[in-house]
Amino acid sequence: MNIIYMLLAISVFVALVFFAAFIYSVKKGQYDDMYTPSVRMLFEDELVDEKKETSKSTNETTPRKKRLTK
């Protein structure tokens, strides 16, 4: 039954990891703008569709990749 020390240690550790992740995301300002990302998320797909049909494709690939990876 000594395993309970181990289990508790692990569970507390996991909880702390999530807690640290929360603090980190707040600190980085991820919750500062709760609206724009929800709109921005919708652009990319439509942008690809739109682009395939009409664009002349000059500097097209690089900037989009950049935005997607960000």
């Binding site: 039954m1 309970i4 020390y5 508790l8 507390v12 909880a15 807690f19 929360f22 603090i23 707040v26 600190k27 919750y31 500062d32 703008d33 709760m34 609206y35 724009t36 709109v39 921005r40 919708l42 652009f43 439509e46 942008l47 739109e50 682009k51 009409t54 664009s55 002349k56 500097n59 900037p63 950049k66 935005r67 960000k70």
Partner: protein, 813 residues
């Protein structure tokens, strides 16, 4: 009628057809062109007619070429990379986000652009190689996204947002959850072997989790209680701090002495709920600022003229040329010459040297109409030039200007709410005293009856009576009201303002811009009826002019149709003249119109001195005049009538008394009307009212009301467009909701009732809890149930009640 493909406005004046699409002006067409050429026409698919008509930009942003100024705006500037955050009030839809984040397609120098929609800002990273801030701003302005740059941007460095409360809340929540799990096994008091063996380990783990709760998350309550006691106030944080302290000490002692499992779960839960209330109480509007002063209204830079002297033969110096440069407003000194262009703001007190000045002071003084100034006249800072280019000589630097000196008044450095005793504070005074009495009495009783549990009872009373529910009643009620207000376009700074709003007994209104709209003007024609032909020429003449009065008249008359003018002349500050075929028509001041007309109407000359008039004459005779009067906001009379039932009403106007008779006629009796009030007069008037014990609500709109807004108990600004400048205040009300002022006042009063009911409700819980405590039966599990139960039921009660109130007043759907 066609609507513009770009901006959606009706194409009433001209229609430009281009690529099967209609545009209302060349500006809109140009934007479409730019976007179309760069494969950005998706802009128009995302939203219908998302565009903004670009305004004229020539020379407007020249000051950004000055490195000193532009460096002040940059956030980052190293190794050829510059980062800047610009406020763009015209951001309004998803198309805006999309096009701004694709700026790199328009100029490859732009690396990334990120829009923060709620704040209406865009953060742009660009390479400074062959591209600079000026180019960027011009590029944005060309698309109709003019950044709002003001003196404030250049003078204050951005402060970081305070996220302490979120961290505290996170820690308390984290600890609360974990402690709950750990304390669960012991709730049921089963003497199971394994539980007996590991309970010490569990207890010490709970102790460890409670440390950050007490010493970080809940620390604010100790600080606040200490501050309160030092200034001899028993605020609500005093019993809370006692509660937290007793909970922690008693629990620690219990586990050290192996008496029990302690109340760590209740402790963490208490702090968590309290912080949740604090968090809910805040409602921030990212796109609004309640702290603005003249700095965010004034420009960063102006065009300065300086004469260049070249020495000839080393002896005589002679003036060779006048040069222009862009000077920061802070750098201006007495004697400098500056140039103000059309629709630019005069940033300093100055003397007019050259040019015709037509200055609109409505925002700074409350005078409704632009005033004409002659060379040699004194111009106050804050006025906006409405016609042509003028040259000025600076008399005083910006900080010493007539207008900006208002801000040196001590009222602007005082914290308005420090002296206000909230309802919770009032209750907590009695509550704390009663609580301590009960604790003492019951302890003394048990000391005689059964000494062993006396200490237990004493601490139990302090724990169970910890006013969690009371402390939550006000934050949740006011937080809910704040949101209801916000949904109805009344943006309130913080929850205390709502409480203060409920005490209001005197309402002071500004006139210009507050009671009157600045979009429409009521116009009446007095004089000889105009023939159809005359009307035609008049309309065509007005169409060519950009004077605000001409524009207003034009919108009134444009049903008449238009014809081509043979000639058109405009004399700034006097009037306009249009000639078509047989006759000419003159529009403008009385002197201008009657200059050559043979017949002079002497009768009309004397009347209407205080009213704004535009006179009309043909080459033969004087015809008559259009009288403009301010149009009051719809429902103004109703608002006054409803308010006059339980408030004293005052109208303080910076304008002349031309409207007095009319106002007296339409407003209910017993309203004080004061005219020609300077900004200081307004401030002092509000102060006098307060000295008489009144609680004053000031409703204003411009910089001239700033003093009164700051002095009043609650200062609310009426704004036609909440995104543009509004002076420092406690709340911003969208002008379209002016009629609802009474409703907001009623709601805030009823909100206070809700808090009172919630207090009674939570006292009921306290009585039950005290019953357990004084009899010495407070088990951890009882506390662990009672405390969250009371908190949650208070939250539900206040939320439902405020919702019902909002519904009754038609503020919630």
């Amino acid at each position: 009628m066609e609507n513009c493909f770009h901006c959606g406005d009706a194409c009433d004046r001209t229609v430009i057809k281009y690529e099967d699409k209609q545009f209302c002006c060349h500006g809109c067409k140009t934007v479409f062109d730019i976007l179309n050429e760069n494969d950005l026409s998706y802009y128009y698919d995302l939203q219908q007619t998302p565009g903004i008509t670009p305004s004229r930009i020539e020379g407007k942003y020249d000051f950004l070429e000055n490195k000193v100024i532009s460096d002040k705006l940059l956030e980052f500037n190293e190794q050829g990379i510059q980062v800047v955050t610009l406020l763009i009030p015209s951001i309004h839809c998803s198309s805006c986000i999309w096009v701004l984040e694709n700026l790199n397609k328009l100029n490859p120098a732009v690396k990334t652009a990120q829009v923060n929609f709620p704040r209406k800002t865009v953060r742009v990273t660009y390479s400074s190689d062959g591209f600079n801030l000026h180019d960027l701003v011009v590029l944005l302005a060309k698309l109709g996204y003019d950044p709002y740059l003001s003196l404030e941007d250049a003078s204050v460095k951005k402060t970081t947002t305070d996220r302490t409360l979120i961290y505290q809340l996170g820690i308390a929540g984290f600890a609360f959850g974990n402690i709950m799990f750990l304390s669960f096994p012991e709730y049921f008091k089963v003497d199971e072997f394994w539980l007996e063996r590991y309970k010490y380990f569990f207890r010490w783990l709970m102790f460890a989790f409670s440390l950050p709760v007490v010493f970080y998350a809940g620390w604010g309550y100790f600080v606040s209680a200490y501050k309160g006691l030092r200034s001899r106030i028993l605020n609500i944080d005093v019993p809370i701090a006692i509660g937290i302290f007793v909970l922690f000490v008693r629990s620690s002692v219990e586990i050290i002495m192996d008496w029990g499992s302690g109340f760590f779960d209740s402790l963490a839960g208490l702090v968590f709920f309290l912080l949740l209330g604090k968090f809910f109480q805040q409602k921030t509007y990212a796109f609004l600022s309640f702290e603005r002063d003249y700095k965010s209204y004034f420009p960063i830079a102006v065009t300065r003229l300086f004469k260049e002297y070249a020495s000839v033969d080393g002896e005589n110096t002679s003036e060779t040329s006048k040069k222009e440069d862009q000077a920061q407003v802070y750098e201006l000194e007495k004697g400098d010459r500056i140039i103000i262009r059309n629709s630019e703001l005069i940033p300093v007190d100055a003397i007019l040297i050259k040019g015709k000045a037509l200055i609109d002071y409505s925002f700074v003084t409350g005078e409704a109409e632009p005033v004409v100034k002659q060379s040699g006249d004194y111009l106050y800072a804050g006025g906006r030039q409405q016609a042509g280019v003028i040259e000025l000589e600076v008399l005083k630097p910006v900080e010493q200007s007539y207008l900006t000196q208002l801000w040196s008044n001590e009222i602007f450095s005082k914290n308005k709410q420090s002296g206000f005793e909230s309802l919770t504070d009032k209750i907590s005074k009695r509550f704390t005293i009663t609580l301590l009495l009960i604790a003492l009495v019951s302890t003394i009783f048990w000391l005689f009856y059964d000494t062993s549990i006396a200490l237990n009872v004493f601490t139990s009373v302090l724990i169970v009576a910890c006013p969690c529910a009371i402390a939550l009643a006000a934050p949740f009620t006011l937080g809910n009201l704040l949101r209801i207000f916000g949904r109805n376009k009344c943006y309130i700074k913080n929850s205390k303002v709502i409480e203060q709003l409920s005490h209001i007994d005197t309402v002071v209104f500004d006139k210009t811009g507050t009671l009157t709209t600045n979009q429409k003007n009521g116009i009446v024609y007095e004089g000889i009826t105009l023939s159809e032909d005359e009307k035609l020429v008049l309309t065509s003449t007005l169409r060519a002019s950009n004077h605000p009065l001409s524009r207003a008249l034009y919108t009134l008359l444009n049903t008449n149709g238009i014809c081509t003018l043979d000639s058109f002349t405009e004399e700034v500050g006097k009037g306009i003249e249009g000639v078509s075929r047989a006759f000419s028509i003159k529009v403008g001041s009385y002197d201008f119109v009657t200059e050559k007309a043979q017949e002079k109407s002497q009768v009309l000359e004397q009347s209407n001195t205080n009213k704004t008039t535009v006179h009309i004459g043909t080459s033969e005779e004087y015809k008559g005049c259009f009288v403009f009067f301010n149009e009051y906001r719809a429902g103004m009379t109703d608002v006054f009538e409803a308010l006059s039932k339980n408030c004293n009403l005052v109208v303080l106007s910076g304008d002349n008394n031309g409207e007095q008779a009319y106002l007296e006629q339409i407003l209910p009796k017993g309203i004080t009307l004061l005219f020609n009030q300077k900004p200081e007069n307004k401030l002092n008037y509000v102060k006098t009212l307060q000295d008489q014990g009144r609680n004053v609500l000031m409703v204003g709109d411009g910089l001239n009301d700033s003093g009164a807004l700051a002095q009043s108990n609650v200062g609310i600004v009426i704004s036609e467009n909440v995104n543009v400048f509004s002076p420092a205040c406690d709340g911003i009300l969208d002008a379209s909701r002016f009629k609802q002022i009474t409703t907001f006042l009623t709601l805030s009063r009823q909100g206070i009732k809700v808090i009172n009911y919630a207090f009674i409700f939570s006292l009921f819980y306290n009585v039950i809890g005290l019953g357990f405590a004084v009899t010495g039966h407070l088990a951890p599990v009882v506390a662990a149930i009672l405390m969250p139960l009371s908190s949650i039921s208070i939250v539900i009660f206040t939320t439902v009640y405020t919702y019902i109130l909002g519904r009754k007043l038609n503020l919630v759907d």
